[in-house]
Symmetry: none
Subunit: 206 residues, 4 copies
DNA sequence: GATGAATGAGCCTTCATTCAT
DNA sequence: AATGAATGAAGGCTCATTCAT
């Protein structure tokens, strides 16, 4: 094991190290401050090496988002599906999403509040038929369809409704991240009321 | 009046000119492209002069955002209030807001999707009792209260509901601005469905 | 006059200094070695300053070529026109050109033996009607036309002939610059024979 | 034969493969785009391996140029000699040369417009008595001597004339390759006129 | 007030080359 | 023989900011 000090076990894993360093800079300093040089400094390698592992900054960015995104998907996938109460599953999932993002606000800002070409394909949600492309939208749409079949929900277009649930929650989340003067109590009230209104908005009228 | 031709009346108004130039660049080329040099070029002064009127780029930015925001408030204040159909007034107002912003997407991004301290006081919407501070929230809250009194709406906390209507719409708007692959038709469907769900979500059940 | 040492008289003339520095690097090290940084080093200023005077490297290059080219044009313009012996004027001019370039071989290589977009407009000679664009070609073409009128030369297309005289001489010059093993005597013989053949090639047959 | 599939017979021939890959990149993408990495990618070996076969990039370059040059010589050697019409043979040969090079403009630039030491001995044409060294010049000189003997041509020094024919054609070819705005028609006119002037320039006067 | 020259730090990227394995 | 990770130097360029005038 007597190799240069700095690279002991991680020698085979520089790619991961680069992504993590980028992720950290993103979280700490935000998107604009994320530079190849800064990453190189952080991992104590030369800038050139990054191009050994990634075609360009965009590809690196894509991988960073992918990793973060995968973690989210993982968290979401752990939520049990309750077919008898699809609305509960929806709220559960979206709340998990909110909590996940509130823990990494800078990443959210970097990823979700910017027009980064290379990650559009991971992040865009509004086009028609998106539920055929994006897993998370597929799941959400399916839950709504279940609710429709059971007679709980009333909506012409499950996907469209899924998109509105998503954009609404995205909006609340964005503001929760951007605004600093919101008490914990108020945060909770807002989150709960958000889902009250949304779910109420799609429930069948008696 | 014997000064250089180009600066006759506007000599005392250079500050305004700088802000407007910046605003225009912002709208046309986007936030990232807004540079001190570009502004100086546009107003046909030297870059240095900008530092006579603004401490630094940030301060200038604050002023730009402030101005844009004022224009929005003005637009919103012109919407007539229909007490018999508060939900129509709400939808009307929020749609005006959406349209206004879709016309100036770069301004929206600059204003709403950044943490510019000096304008927080103008832009933040989530704190409790915000309806006492911010006119636009006050109006929205009042409309909801009218609806409650008339027996149309059912909600415990008019302000909280106003906040959710706002954040939801903000979320949709954000995504509409950030995503490029959305057809005009789809945009309209999303906007309409957004208000369908929201209003439905607060209507009294029969 | 008590300003910083390094910039005494030349303060108003940095643009010229940049061009000259570039010219020198071009002559000494060749085109590939000409970099913005190297120029900045040479003039002891920061690289950024170059963009104060030139839009980009291409524009700088264009100016460098222009200056060199102007010097050549100046040299050529001093050649007296002998209407009775246009062939002598032609030979005279082309020999001046050869001598001029042999004194600055690296500039010739840099300018004439590369595809530099920004200077194409100064350097290209083969298109039809070039004699309406480029002074040097205009002059050469006119001399040939004079010879035709006087009955000395025989050619259908004066411009085409001018182009061949030019490309031929350009070819000889290129090789004289690229090849190192050519004695002075041989050089002279080649130059003289070049014009012998060319002029002979366009003279009227008795 | 139990080696990796992809390198069966060519294992001893990697040097050739490298040269060919480089040659192809040269033709397709140009001299400036020819990089060690690109070659390595093309042959599906690692960059390091190239340094097993070549001291450095320059040495590799030499070899590439050498190979290309050999191909040209081969093409030229196939031209039939017509002793009754030496001028036709000359024109024929030189046109073959032009066509060959117009098909591989990047190779021409690499070979003829650079000072690559190691190939000087193959490429230089201007020294006295070159016709004793270089086959192509020997052939050209002999054709001129035939013309002299037959009374067609008039020149004191056949080799010198050969050199001028060569440099003239080289000049035209260089410009044809460097200039982009030349129509096909104009190209042909230039080529034809070039030989008209040159041949006319050495024909015996009646 | 206003200029405009100048800086220094930063940006992404490419490359020939080396070297331990 | 061959790899592939890694470097260091260099490339063009942009920008907010300062400062003598």
């Amino acid at each position: 094991m007597g190799i240069t000090e700095r690279r002991q076990s991680e020698i085979e894993n520089l790619k991961k190290k680069i992504i993590d360093a980028a992720s950290e800079i993103l979280s700490k300093d935000g998107f604009e401050k994320l530079s190849i040089r800064k990453i190189a400094d952080k991992i104590e390698y030369s800038p050139g090496i990054i191009y050994h592992y990634f075609k360009d900054k965009n590809e690196l960015l894509y991988c960073v988002v992918e990793e973060n995104y995968d973690a989210l998907i993982k968290a979401l996938s752990k939520i049990p599906v309750d077919n008898e109460h699809p609305e509960k599953t929806i709220i559960n999932g979206m709340k998990t999403y909110i909590e996940f993002m509130l823990k990494n606000p800078e990443s959210f800002k970097a990823i979700m509040m910017n027009n980064i070409e290379s990650i559009e394909s991971k992040v865009n949600m509004l086009e028609k038929n998106i539920s055929k492309k994006r897993t998370s939208m597929k799941n959400l749409t399916e839950l709504i369809e279940i609710g429709i079949k059971k007679g709980f929900f009333k909506t012409d277009d499950a996907e469209l409704t899924a998109q509105i649930i998503w954009t609404s929650t995205y909006g609340l989340l964005s503001r929760l991240i951007l605004e600093k003067n919101v008490t914990k109590e108020q945060k909770e009230k807002l989150i709960n009321h958000n889902f009250e209104v949304l779910i109420n908005g799609i429930l069948t009228r008696k």
